[in-house]
């Protein structure tokens, strides 16, 4: 494996470790910080009433997580498409194979 790929792999591994460590060593509910912020407002200002509510609210956690998955899929797909195009362009232009791990991030 080239040095380029090894460094990329290590960068990716670093992210995995950063995500895994809290899951393994920290006990918590892993609730969203946005929700915790909201709870903090409700605690310190119990009389505050939100004056506007979302136009559309996903009916359940399942639907909501599905929509988030779609969001990530669209973004990931677009990124992968970009790297595919960029790599092919380089190849056609005679720049040689553009990276052995060209679109791993997609």
């Amino acid at each position: 494996m080239s040095r380029f790929s090894v460094v990329n792999m290590l960068l990716f591994l670093g992210v995995i470790v950063l995500v895994a460590v809290p899951l393994i060593f920290v006990s918590g509910e892993f609730a969203g910080s946005d929700d915790q912020g909201q709870a903090q407002i409700e605690k310190s200002h119990p009389h505050y009433k939100p004056w506007f509510s979302s136009i559309y609210e996903p009916p359940s956690g399942e639907v909501s997580s599905g929509l988030f998955a779609i969001q990530a899929a669209i973004g990931g797909g677009a990124l992968g498409y970009y790297f595919g195009v960029a790599r092919t362009r380089r190849r056609i232009a005679g720049g040689g194979p553009a990276g052995d791990s060209g679109s791993r991030n997609g």
């Binding site: 380029f4 460094v7 990329n8 960068l11 990716f12 670093g14 992210v15 950063l18 995500v19 460590v21 809290p22 899951l23 920290v26 918590g28 509910e29 892993f30 609730a31 969203g32 910080s33 946005d34 915790q36 912020g37 909201q38 903090q40 407002i41 310190s44 200002h45 505050y48 939100p50 004056w51 506007f52 509510s53 979302s54 136009i55 559309y56 609210e57 996903p58 909501s64 929509l67 988030f68 998955a69 969001q71 990530a72 669209i74 973004g75 990931g76 797909g77 677009a78 990124l79 970009y82 790297f83 960029a86 790599r87 380089r90 553009a98 990276g99 060209g102 679109s103 791993r104 991030n105």
Partner: protein, 234 residues
């Protein structure tokens, strides 16, 4: 960092919207100029938007036992400068507010201000400064992305503290409280975002040196001179 719909008093919501609007309008102009001047960069523009799209949908666990998400704005700020990133970020936030009930329309101004304005500007500032001080590109990209992420959450904490000051300790006390929820959780995530952004930047430099050189990202960052393709292998 998404302040939920209706969770800023009307006056605050309006003020942040007014504060954010000029940046986004200016960004739209910059975006149109960019696309006209260099139509080829449209694809990369999409990729920068996509990066924010993915990262802001990615809720990751943190050492505080809660979850949060990165912002992905550092990359676009380095590639296309902060004004253009403001537009991309605003679009992502709008999508999340309307379809996912994540964030909100009344808080769109405040959320845009933290994620799509302050984050990108801090990220770009850090990047430019580090490059000027002679740091390597990857180190500069790492700190730019990580601090763009972290600063976004600091701004959110201040925004909430201004709207909901603590009865005993005032705005400062509330800022510390919100900061302990948002900013501390965000530290490991900011590091993750830094690493991911370096990874994507490495792939970009390898696969699209031409685009990056036209944008002045590779080559001499201070004078923006265009590097010859041969000088790209670090």
């Amino acid at each position: 960092m998404h302040i939920a719909e209706g969770y800023l008093p009307p006056l605050h919501a309006a003020a942040w919207t007014v504060a954010a609007a000029p940046f986004v309008v200016h960004g739209c102009r910059a975006l149109v100029r960019q696309v006209r001047a260099d139509p080829e960069s449209k694809l990369l523009l999409g990729a920068a938007g996509a990066f924010t799209f993915v990262l802001s949908a990615l809720k990751l666990p943190s050492v505080t036992g809660s979850c949060s998400h990165p912002t992905g704005t550092g990359l676009g700020a380095i590639l296309f400068k902060p004004p253009i990133m403001s537009v991309l970020g605003c679009i992502v936030l709008f999508f999340q507010a309307v379809i996912l009930a994540h964030g909100g329309l009344t808080t769109l101004g405040a959320n845009t201000f933290s994620m799509a304005i302050v984050g990108p500007w801090i990220g770009y500032g850090v990047y430019a400064l580090l490059r000027k001080l002679g740091s390597g590109q990857e180190v500069a990209v790492f700190f730019a992305a990580a601090l763009a992420d972290l600063s976004t959450y600091c701004v959110t904490s201040v925004q909430l503290a201004l709207a909901f000051p603590d009865t005993d300790s005032g705005v400062l006390g509330a800022a510390l409280k919100f900061g302990s929820i948002f900013a501390v959780t965000q530290i490991p995530l900011a590091i993750s975002e830094g690493l991911l952004t370096v990874l994507v930047m490495r792939l970009l430099i390898k696969t699209s040196p031409g685009e990056l050189s036209r944008l002045g990202v590779v080559g001499d960052p201070v004078r923006g001179t265009r590097a010859p393709a041969a000088g790209l292998g670090r």
